[in-house]
């Protein structure tokens, strides 16, 4: 029961979706299945919040190292949840101002918007901006032209780095744009590299991945691959 029912569910929904793709009469079934999937995906956000709660509550109760920061996590979590779910600071909907719950919680000026604009936005943007520093450090410490393949990689990277900025244009602006050697201008070279070499390499990767996904999906739908059920089966 514990393992058979999930396999039946997987196979059933899979068959419904594949059949609905090819037989128009069953299209509505496929649309229902994908809509149900979307709703479950939204409920998965609740699961994410719940997991966060579980982990950090345990950390606080066990007084593990850094449990003070878990209080910050949970404090901000509940504060944001409260202002969002209770629609605190939300102005009425102009079309239905007599209905207090009809306002737009994400509109500018609400407490939820404040949490997004002044905490979520600067924090997430800055976290990703940090990668620029790490990539510079990695470039200095790790990128070594130890063999021909590495030199090919770095040489291409140099052409792209120059060609995608004004430097590339500036360095080879003396090559006439209309002449037979215009392809040697760095910005033209970078376009050529992307449109030919990069396309060829990524196309092969895409084709390989597509075949892999097709076979893995088939194995999952037929019940041959049960790794998603856990338990080492």
């Amino acid at each position: 029961m514990k393992r058979t029912v999930p396999l039946i569910i997987t196979a059933t929904v899979g068959v419904v979706l594949i059949v609905s793709n090819f037989i128009p009469d069953f299209r509505a079934w496929g649309e229902e299945a994908t809509t149900f999937f979307s709703i479950i995906a939204a409920i998965a956000f609740v699961l994410g919040g719940g997991s966060l709660l579980k982990v950090h509550l345990r950390k606080i109760s066990d007084r593990n190292a850094g449990w003070g920061y878990s209080i910050v996590v949970l404090g901000t979590f509940f504060a944001t949840l409260a202002v969002g779910l209770l629609k605190i600071g939300v102005t009425p909907n102009p079309a239905f101002p007599d209905m207090p719950w009809a306002g737009d919680v994400q509109a500018q000026g609400t407490a939820f918007w404040w949490a997004y604009e002044y905490t979520f936005k600067p924090l997430t943007s800055t976290m990703f901006a940090m990668l620029a520093f790490y990539i510079a450090s990695a470039a200095f410490r790790a990128f070594r032209a130890k063999n021909f393949e590495a030199m090919l990689l770095l040489g291409t990277a140099f052409i792209i780095l120059l060609g995608r900025t004004f430097a590339g244009y500036f360095l080879t602006s003396w090559i006439p744009i209309d002449g037979p050697f215009s392809g040697l201008r760095i910005e033209e070279l970078s376009v050529y590299i992307m449109q030919v070499f990069n396309t060829a390499g990524n196309r092969a990767i895409i084709i390989g991945i597509a075949l892999g996904i097709a076979s893995t999906s088939l194995k999952i739908l037929m019940g041959l691959d049960r790794s998603y059920l856990g338990g080492g089966n």
Binding site: T34, I39, T76, A102, G109, S125, A204, A214
Partner: protein
């Protein structure tokens, strides 16, 4: 106290002095202005102009809310009409705020304390994250904890209001949803089929329970089955067949001029391009064929494939670098423009404040 800690304190002090000094030079820094206006809506009964739209037994008027002072409010409003008022807040550029203050009639424009405090909170968090570059420290840890908590709650709230309410509750209890959260929704009869995702959703949440977690596997099976079926068809059509189709194109690519004559030079290079593309794809695919030993002719072609892939990865590295730097540039723009008011590329403030700083 060791030298490193002394250095950190010195940096903080210098930064603090610089920020304090900046706050008193020119127009200052880090302020957000808004305009507050009272909005009043009036409930009116407006007649339906097209009689064909009125069904049998239905009223020939519609109830609507219109802005007070509008033509409809004057024409159809009565002294007993219901009204609702609230404060609407809209952002104002500092330049417009300064002009309003100078004119002596701000008309509701003023410093917005919550947003100004928010701006400084945002700047503090930005610097706290950057401080990790020097050393891990409590400010960074606090900022990290805040983002974890806020983002988890943000996703939950958005998922609830944008998906669960309209698409799940709106189908299971349309009357209730229309009467409370989404009055603009068309109320139809309940669609009981939506009990299926509701049930699966509840089963998914059993993952949080100490016992009964195996029930969540049913929902997981639904998710995996849907994803596998969608991807199998889409990847075969979009990635496999379409990409093979795009590769198997004539090697001889004719390029004609505007007058219809064949451009030999362009045709030659277009054909070279297509041939290189074809060879590249085949060579890379040969490399990925690991069930055949890469020796002899196969080895040679696989080596060519590796070279194509190295060029591909080099291009990917170049683009990745480009992407990361743009994100850093955006953060510095926030600090220098929105917070410190050092630069003003979008002309939000009087230009003189930045030029004044240069003396």
């Amino acid at each position: 106290m060791n030298r490193q800690n002394l250095g950190i304190i010195a940096v903080f002090l210098i930064l603090g002095v610089l920020v304090a000094a900046r706050a008193f030079v020119g127009d200052g820094m880090g302020r957000v202005y808004t305009k507050r206006e009272t909005v009043t809506m009036v409930q009116v009964e407006r007649p339906v102009l097209d009689p064909t739209l009125v069904g049998e037994g239905e009223a020939d008027t519609t109830t609507e809310w219109v802005p007070e002072g509008s033509a409809d409010a004057r024409d159809f409003g009565t002294p007993s009409s219901a009204t609702v008022s609230w404060q609407a807040v809209s952002p104002v550029q500092p330049a417009d705020a300064f002009a309003a203050f100078e004119s002596g009639d701000p008309q509701g424009i003023g410093l917005d304390w919550p947003r100004t405090i928010g701006l400084w909170v945002g700047a503090f968090f930005t610097l706290a994250i950057f401080s990790f570059l020097y050393k891990d420290n409590p400010f960074y840890k606090v900022a990290e904890s805040v983002v974890v908590g806020v983002s988890a709650a943000y996703w939950m709230v958005v998922g609830f209001w944008d998906m669960i309410v309209p698409n799940l509750l709106g189908n299971l209890a349309p009357g209730f949803v229309q009467a409370t959260f989404l009055p603009g929704l068309d109320a139809t009869s309940p669609q009981w089929a939506y009990l299926i995702p509701a049930t699966f959703g509840v089963l998914l949440l059993t993952r949080l329970l100490p016992k009964g977690q195996w029930l969540s596997l049913w929902t997981l099976a639904f998710i995996v089955g849907t994803t596998a079926a969608l991807r199998m068809v889409a990847y075969i059509e979009g990635d496999f067949l379409s990409q093979v189709n795009a590769t198997v194109q004539p090697v001889y690519q004719v390029v004609t001029n505007a007058d219809g004559a064949v451009d030999g030079y362009a045709t030659f290079w277009a054909s070279v391009r297509q041939l290189t593309l074809l060879i590249g794809v085949l060579a890379c695919l040969t490399y990925f064929f690991f069930s055949v030993e890469h020796k002899g002719a196969v080895g040679g072609v696989a080596r060519l494939g590796i070279w194509f892939l190295m060029i591909t990865f080099g291009a990917a590295f170049g683009f990745t670098v480009m992407g990361r730097i743009a994100l850093l540039a955006a953060r510095f723009e926030f600090l220098f423009d929105d917070w410190l008011w050092l630069i003003d590329p979008t002309n939000q403030r009087v230009v003189a404040s930045a030029v004044g700083l240069l003396g």
